[in-house]
Assembly symmetry: C2
Homo-oligomer: 454 residues x 2
């Protein structure tokens, strides 16, 4: 592989200049004033894919921002990898909180500062350059490659799933490669192989038909806030387990191997507590903190409101109270089934003295990519070669709904080979990306093509 490595190192400055140009386009998907910038970014990606050697590159219209697709299928008999990324970015937010213009990238030391640097422009550009390097240094790719780059990840990827369903044949692949996650620590090669799913509900409890005077009526009429508090409290048992019947049915338990892998990460509880500002952690008994947040299902109130919440005192029994309650899911929990179990349980535990309505707001499937799968093993070896260290395996507590769509619609496992860092201010001011990781990423991508083609 030496000619490719040399080519990559020699072209470092140009790669960074090209990335800067991409970062200069304020492709903020949430803000309609940037509609033209979205097209500009899609066109830039499209042009660079063609320059790299991809064929049939096309900007596909959707009901929202366009999707860029390109492919090279010149390796018959070899596997096909579909590379997913997104060219849209979060809004910059308050410009006064930025030390430099969010859309005028600056490099300080090893870091490039700009909105989208790590999420996801810097990471997706890695693969465009790895493809270019293969063609320029070797004249070919060792496997078949497809690119699917969307412009709506930051606003929920609403039009991507229909696009995938409508283009299953075009997108068919053996594995999906995504660089939109983080390394566990700087310089430490990391694969994320699990994402939690989500089931987001809203519960409204109505007691009396209007706010009542708490003096005249207190003690005789059920108070919906007290009732809801009791219901919420009952959703966990004393060991921190969720009490909804059927909630844990059929879930994949953590294997001994996974638990050992997590242990090796040497997670610091004290640093974590300091970061979030608490004196004690809490959660399901029998699991470590990492296990709880990556691999165990949870139930959290995301918000609650009811009755008098202004200054001072108002003596009422509120008529209504509502709470948003969401559950993070792990394989094989189905968000639709969990929503039904939750609704049935809430209705079952509600006393007759109140009326309860339950709404399903949002859901997403959990994803697990087997760590002994071919693509994951290839990715692990590739990163190990690039970084010169043993690859670690982690999961992520959050959800990337599109990953489940790839699994369900394309039947293709996703490899989450991310090169960002959680400390790189994604979604915050002064977002940045390590240029060292950018370069190691390009090499990792090239090595992945080679390893996966074997």
């Amino acid at each position: 592989m030496e000619p490719i490595d040399n080519y990559i190192d020699e072209n470092r400055d140009r790669y960074i200049e090209e990335l800067k140009e991409l970062l200069r386009i304020p492709s903020v998907s949430a803000e309609s004033e940037h509609k033209g910038d979205m097209i500009k970014a899609a066109e830039y990606i499209s042009e660079k894919l063609q320059d790299a050697g991809m064929k049939k590159v096309k900007i596909h219209k959707t009901d929202g921002h366009p999707v860029v697709y390109g492919e090279w299928l010149g390796a018959p008999g070899k596997p096909t990898v579909l590379i997913y990324g997104h060219y849209d970015v979060q809004p910059a937010g308050d410009p006064s909180l930025w030390k430099s213009d969010p859309f005028d990238p600056v490099i300080i030391g090893d870091k490039i500062f700009a909105r989208g640097a790590t999420d996801d422009k810097g990471q997706l550009y890695i693969h465009i350059k790895s493809v270019e390097a293969c063609f320029k240094a070797n004249g070919t790719l060792p496997l078949n490659v497809k690119f699917l780059i969307e412009g709506e990840e930051e606003v929920g990827s609403e039009n991507l799933e229909p696009f995938i369903i409508a283009n299953k044949k075009m997108l068919a692949c053996d594995s999906v490669l995504i660089s939109d996650t983080s390394l566990y620590a700087p310089g430490l090669p990391t694969l994320t192989y699990g994402l939690r799913g989500l089931c987001y509900m809203e519960v409204e409890v109505t007691g009396p038909n209007k706010d009542l005077h708490s003096g005249s009526y207190g003690g005789a009429v059920a108070n919906p806030v007290n009732v809801l508090a009791k219901m919420i409290a009952s959703l966990h048992d004393k060991n921190g387990k969720v009490t909804i019947p059927g909630f844990y049915d059929g879930i994949l338990q953590l294997s001994r191997q996974e638990r050992e892998n997590f242990k090796k990460l040497k997670f610091s509880e004290s640093a974590y507590m300091k970061e979030v500002g608490v004196k004690e952690l809490a959660g399901e008994k029998g699991y470590t903190t990492l296990e709880r947040q990556w691999a165990r299902p949870t139930l959290d109130c995301n918000g609650i409101v009811g009755g008098y919440t202004g200054e001072g005192a108002k003596t009422i029994i509120p008529s209504k109270v509502s709470s948003k309650i969401s559950m993070r899911l792990v394989s094989n929990q189905d968000p639709k089934k969990i929503a039904k179990l939750f609704t049935a349980h809430i209705k079952a535990i509600a006393p007759k003295s109140v009326k309860v309505t339950v709404k399903e707001l949002h859901g997403g499937y959990p994803v697990i990519t087997p760590i002994d799968g071919k693509a994951t093993i290839a990715a692990s070896k590739a990163m190990e070669r690039a970084f010169g260290k043993k690859t670690v395996y982690m999961r992520e507590g959050g959800s990337i709904p599109v990953v489940a769509a790839f699994a369900n619609e394309l039947k293709a496992p996703a490899v989450l080979m991310g090169f960002g860092l959680n400390s790189e201010n994604l979604h915050s001011p002064n977002e940045h990306f390590s240029l060292t990781h950018f370069m190691l990423g390009i090499k990792s991508s090239v090595y992945f093509f080679e390893e996966f083609s074997k």
Copy 2:
């Protein structure tokens, strides 16, 4: 008493005309634009007290709206009664909800419609006219009478307690007579002999130092909403009893006589449930609905707010949540002591994973007037004579803080001889007052003077 009765009946039309004139003054204490009307109302009361035969009538300035005081102490050796009332009224609210001008009284059938008709102008005017009737028909009063009419009842009587403390000698009396409550049913003579006290607290629970992503952190960090829900839920046991240690210490239990009196009121649970729109009542086991709301202490959340409460879904673990929690108290619960017990208990049950702050917002003492006291017996006999029915005894679940001030500062029991009805829309549009009860009130007041002077 026939000459007085005749005098009262003959002067009915004039009494009503005078009341109408008082009701025309928009003496809304909460609205500063009515400051001049407050003085006008105080002057009108003052003039009518003098016309009725009261001496030393004076409008006393306070830091807020003025207090009107007058006395007649021409019955040495006889008891002294202090009559309390208030000339201020609630704001009229949305005028489109009124069928007539709130400050232009109209009479439809037996009802006079105007803001303040039942609360409290109509009721306080009863006693001014009873005094007038005594002087006009008999040339004298059978006991000593003092009037204390304030203008800030609807805004919390903030300046009245200091006034009472500063004028203890002037206000010294054997009993306080108040007409600012309701009859249990139309035409049914009723004495209210107990009011609940109040202890109003606010609890704030802080978990992480900022809102956290519920995906990345869910399961590892205590969620303050779930924690507060659990704490609130634990404040009642399965029998609906409050679990705060010491909460029930030393409280006066309901006597068998009281429970029998309540039973005789033939309270309709089905009508009550229909009124408040619930399918089942709830509360402390072992007590009837009337006992629960009049004579048992309670704990209610008045409001709660925390986390995301807008439309749709936001996946956070909130940093903070707070709830206003108030307790209604019965004799001999001390609101200051209860506030301390509550605070200590909340701190004791809070897990180490969160920070908890507790604030005391407001408090008021409960009041019980012994039903076998001299003034209460006199009031009972007086109402019985006027109404031609046996007087019933009730309590009230709410608080009138000034009654506790009379008990504590003047050592005088209060007789709550109200002539309103709960259905007369006090604090709502289309407030009204029964003219039959107005006339029966004047006679009850005259008979009370006679009975209490014996």
